[in-house]
Symmetry: C3
Subunit: 206 residues, 3 copies
């Protein structure tokens, strides 16, 4: 589906920004923030993971270097505000929140892996960068509203990103053409995350 002449990073980045802006705004609404807080938290959730990723590899963050990222985040917040008005009831367990959050997690894990390759980090580093990029925005948002980040509360929030990062490495090691490793990574993160939510997976107690 991803043609060879489409930049996989650009696709994953836009999808992730949009999905996390929606998820962050919904989370803020769930926490009882007003429209201003909803907007700030949506933008922070959308831009947080990628900005952390770029700081780690010593790049000027895309959120500052391009108009694109901020614009997409603002559109996502707008979408979320429309959604919030039509939702009613608790947002936290609503499929719209859980799905957009899972999409953001998946797409951003892929951008983290791609940036890690460009920056020449180790294989371990690629998995770490995929994971931090995926969970970073949501964790910053959780800390801002005074919650223990979901990454600590839910075994299968960071775990899908780790699995996706490993799949990226394997596909790349096998010489898969451009776009395949990141597409596989995102698809796997999304699948594992949604299955974990549906079947309430927990890691084994030791």
């Amino acid at each position: 589906m991803v043609a060879a002449d489409i930049d996989p990073f650009a696709v994953m980045n836009v999808v992730g920004l949009l999905a996390f802006a929606v998820a962050g705004a919904l989370k803020a609404a769930d926490a009882g923030l007003d429209v201003f807080g909803v907007s700030v938290l949506g933008i922070v959730t959308a831009l947080g993971g990628g900005t952390t990723r770029d700081i780690l590899v010593d790049k000027l963050p895309a959120s500052l270097a391009a108009m694109w990222d901020m614009s997409v985040a603002v559109v996502g917040v707008g979408l979320a505000i429309v959604l919030i008005r039509s939702m009613g009831g608790r947002v936290r367990d609503h499929p719209a929140f859980l799905t957009s959050d899972a999409i953001g997690l998946s797409a951003f894990a892929a951008t983290g892996a791609l940036v890690g390759v460009d920056a020449g980090v180790t294989p371990f580093g690629i998995v770490i960068l995929a994971t931090i990029t995926a969970v970073g925005g949501g964790s910053i948002a959780d800390i801002l509203i005074g919650r223990v980040p979901v990454v600590l509360r839910d075994d299968f929030y960071a775990t899908p990103a780790v699995v996706g990062g490993l799949a990226f490495l394997v596909a790349r090691g096998l010489g898969a053409p451009t776009g395949i490793p990141s597409g596989l990574c995102a698809a796997l993160v999304f699948t594992v995350r949604m299955l974990a939510l549906k079947y309430e997976w927990r890691l084994p107690q030791v």
Copy 2:
């Protein structure tokens, strides 16, 4: 007032460091911390925004590269300790706290815009950098003492910085001489912030 041969960044930086060190130390006293906690929080509030700004644009933070920043922050904490002893009552709504915080917000928004220009970020990026630099130190301080950051609780904490960042862009676009865009930015942030406090402005509910 700002002569062409005075470095606008240096002026804004010293004013902001001093004001935020006072505001941060007062906030810590309000939260019941002892003199040590008051000192740490004053220094973190003073250095936090600028350090975040410098990390974002890939510069060695001024807090590490120069003796100046840390020294000014320590002086600000000293001032605050004298103030705290003479204040009594709740610090949070005291004019000394609200004014020093507004001064810090104003001066640091200007430094963020100036650093953004030097780093070659987009116009959007300049507004974002002005805003993050302005609200960064106070937000880190709030998180450290376990409060939801004021940037999420008060509609007109980040908003004045956004307005100031936009004014900076306009003045610069019109070719205003050195010092004018940053001076205008700071004056506008301060005015909007103080008016918002006085008249308890809120953004319209959507």
Copy 3:
């Protein structure tokens, strides 16, 4: 004890990573997290200070650039899980926690000072970098589990690191051979921290 041909940074780094992984994992167990949360918090505590240090001086963080750091952190978490099973009772005041935390504090203060020298920061900057590297991982971990960081609650958590950073500067200024300044720094941080715990030192109230 430290021979001239051993890299002082490498020694201090491994000791600090291992000790902080143990301390972070024990802290997570004390906070009631499951094995997954224990692992994440152990790794974050181990890698947090050094990653912050490297970001501040514009280096690709060792946690991404080398397999070593992450591997040592994982070993430390494994050790902690064995410890937790044999401990019972409250972890927070257990000597195993307090000692491993003090060792991490000491070793990471030394790495911060060494990196500061390489990055050409000011003497003030070296003390700040030693302190931030020492307290960074534990503070991030505290914020993640919703606690006010120990650096704000305990006068003698950051203070030993400041003392160690100053000792590093003096030893270096006196021309001590490689390894001595960082060894002295770590020994002093550890001694001051353990004495402060034993005798419940507080800074004088002003």
